[in-house]
């Protein structure tokens, strides 16, 4: 049987790429490769994972330089083709800078780098990355960011609500000042998801939680459904 192929992008300054790589191996065990930021072909991959870190030292703005890396043209192409794209933390910042997801991430309102587990509400359990969760379920996943304060203007916020593009909200305390407690959003088609919390750091009880593991099983479900349908059709 054909195996699903994951790409974990690596930019200069990425530092959650190893966690992401091992999370794929440990949760779904499908094929996964590191792909350097200079790559110009992602056609072999079914899912593109953009990991956290401080790409290009966060110079100018988080993600502002990474979005022009050669591989990003391929990420745009993959997103347009309906492939699965997930950006976590700095990866989320890169996807918003690239215009693949709406909004922007600005400095936490506390000005503090917040690094601790948070409870998230799964607001949309129909995306490619959340189909293994129950709608409205609360999950525990760590955050680790200084600039995770999600901003969109009122008009965009109502559009996100209308299209069901809010994927995760912080339950209880809002750790960074994000508009409407938003922790993660998706594209209109739902194949591109971005979030500040780190599901790849919550894939085993040894890590304090394994609630993040189902993000990976979700995307495998989504891929199998699509793949199976293609064979059947």
């Amino acid at each position: 049987m054909t195996r699903m192929k994951f790409a974990v992008l690596v930019f200069p300054g990425s530092n959650c790429d190893l966690d992401m790589f091992h999370a794929v191996q440990d949760t779904v065990g499908e094929q996964v490769d590191y792909v350097w930021h200079t790559a110009d072909d992602l056609s072999a991959y079914d899912a593109i994972l953009v990991p956290g870190g401080f790409s290009y030292g966060d110079y100018l703005r988080c993600g502002s330089i990474a979005r022009f890396a050669p591989v990003m043209a391929e990420v745009h192409r993959a997103a347009e083709a309906g492939k699965f794209v997930l950006g976590v933390c700095n990866g989320f910042q890169i996807l918003t800078e690239a215009g693949l997801l709406p909004g922007a991430l600005i400095r936490n309102n506390s000005l503090k780098f917040r690094c601790h587990p948070v409870d998230l509400i799964v607001e949309n359990a129909r995306t490619a990355f959340t189909n293994a969760y129950a709608q409205g379920e609360t999950i525990r996943v760590p955050i680790a960011h200084g600039e995770g304060n999600y901003y969109v203007d009122d008009e965009t916020l109502s559009r996100l609500k209308k299209n069901n593009q809010i994927v995760f909200r912080y339950a209880g305390d809002n750790p960074n000042g994000s508009v409407d407690n938003i922790a993660g959003v998706c594209s209109e088609r739902g194949n591109v998801v971005g979030m500040m919390p780190h599901p790849e750091r919550a894939v085993s009880e040894l890590l304090g939680s394994k609630d993040g593991a189902r993000m990976f099983t979700s995307v495998l479900n989504a891929w199998r459904e699509r793949h199976g349908a293609a064979i059947g059709g």
Binding site: F68, N109, S110, V152
Partner: protein, 81 residues
């Protein structure tokens, strides 16, 4: 030519750094400060045939990279030597 580019946080977007600096100024006895907004200032040297071309190129630089227009505004001044 030399350009001075100013990137500022949009009026309706919260500026946590500005608020913290305002608080610090109050602590230091500068109670008259009612608002602080922090932005970026960049000096850019560039070649261009004329002012109009330089302005057009700078606008494009700001839109593409120097500012994130979701949360920031920009303006620039051009010194033609």
């Amino acid at each position: 030519m030399k350009a001075k580019v100013y990137v500022t946080i949009k009026e309706n977007v919260l500026d946590p750094q500005g608020n913290a600096v305002q608080g610090a100024l109050h602590t230091l006895g500068f109670g008259e400060v009612s608002k602080v907004r922090i932005g970026k200032f960049m000096e850019i040297e560039l070649e261009a045939a004329d002012r109009a071309q330089a302005e057009e190129r700078l606008r494009s630089m700001c839109e593409k990279l120097l500012a994130n227009t979701v949360v920031e505004d920009y303006r620039f001044e051009l010194e033609v030597s």
